[in-house]
Subunit: 132 residues, 2 copies
DNA sequence: GTTTATGCAAATTCTTTGCAATACT
DNA sequence: AGTATTGCAAAGAATTTGCATAAAC
């Protein structure tokens, strides 16, 4: 029940994953990351590195429309506070998921409900694909 | 690539699943449904019945915060048109997911984006639990 | 009688766990 | 030295596929 006191440590896998996510500027699934790592890193190692990055507030999990789990860079988070109420956009043409930073959905629930967290997935055609 | 021409047919499993979902008034996972069917129906049969019900526009899939797939009754859908832009509410106390009908999230995406579909998961405490 | 639904076995995919070896600080 | 990371093997959960039998229309 007690929190594991784990010091953050750099690791080849974590660094590499982060730079991939930075470069692609979109959410990627475990599978994609493994491929982009040239299959040179063990599946399990990738799972664990992703978990640690999530714990450290560096990336966050996004579950796509079809239930596929993906990971994206966190821009406004740290280990203590997470802010993922922004919209995730799934482009049906280029099949990518990306974060629309600074756009939060507004809504009014019926009386009696208390809101803690919001996850919003919007699908459609992204800026890039629309301008082709 | 061609659509399977399947006539809709009644079946014990489909009917039973529908009445369970109607009665519970919340989204249920495959697992829950199997249990509520007293484990008397084969896992695979349930998966297939759920798929068919989704195709027929009778129920829709909801993927919860933690990636658990659940199914809920459709109130405004048919085989041709689906309207699931309403909010799905996940209560962290009673651990249920339910549809908040008629509440759609509003947001404004940057120029260039075209919206086709919206899926919004809100977690918090539901009306029932808040009034206890 | 033709098509769809069911049950069983088996295969796939995704994810997690245990453990020994290695790397980081 | 002490703790976190890695790789491998193996287990576990969720979902899908194939095929023969049963049921619906």
């Amino acid at each position: 029940m007690d929190k594991k006191i784990k010091r953050e440590r750099s690791s080849a896998t974590k660094t590499h994953i982060l730079s991939i996510l930075e470069e692609k500027k979109q959410a990627l699934a475990h599978k994609d990351i493994q491929l982009l790592l040239d299959n040179s890193v063990d599946r399990v190692t990738i799972y664990r590195a992703l978990d640690r990055l999530v714990d450290e507030g560096k990336i966050h999990k996004v579950t796509g429309m079809e239930g596929i789990v993906q990971y994206a860079i966190c821009h406004n988070c740290n280990k203590e506070e997470h802010h993922h109420n922004h919209i995730h956009f799934h482009c049906v043409q280029c099949e990518t998921i990306s974060c629309i930073e600074n756009v939060e959905p507004k809504f009014k629930l019926p009386d009696g409900y208390t809101v803690e967290n919001v996850q919003c997935m919007v699908s459609g055609v992204c800026k890039n694909c629309n301008s082709l």
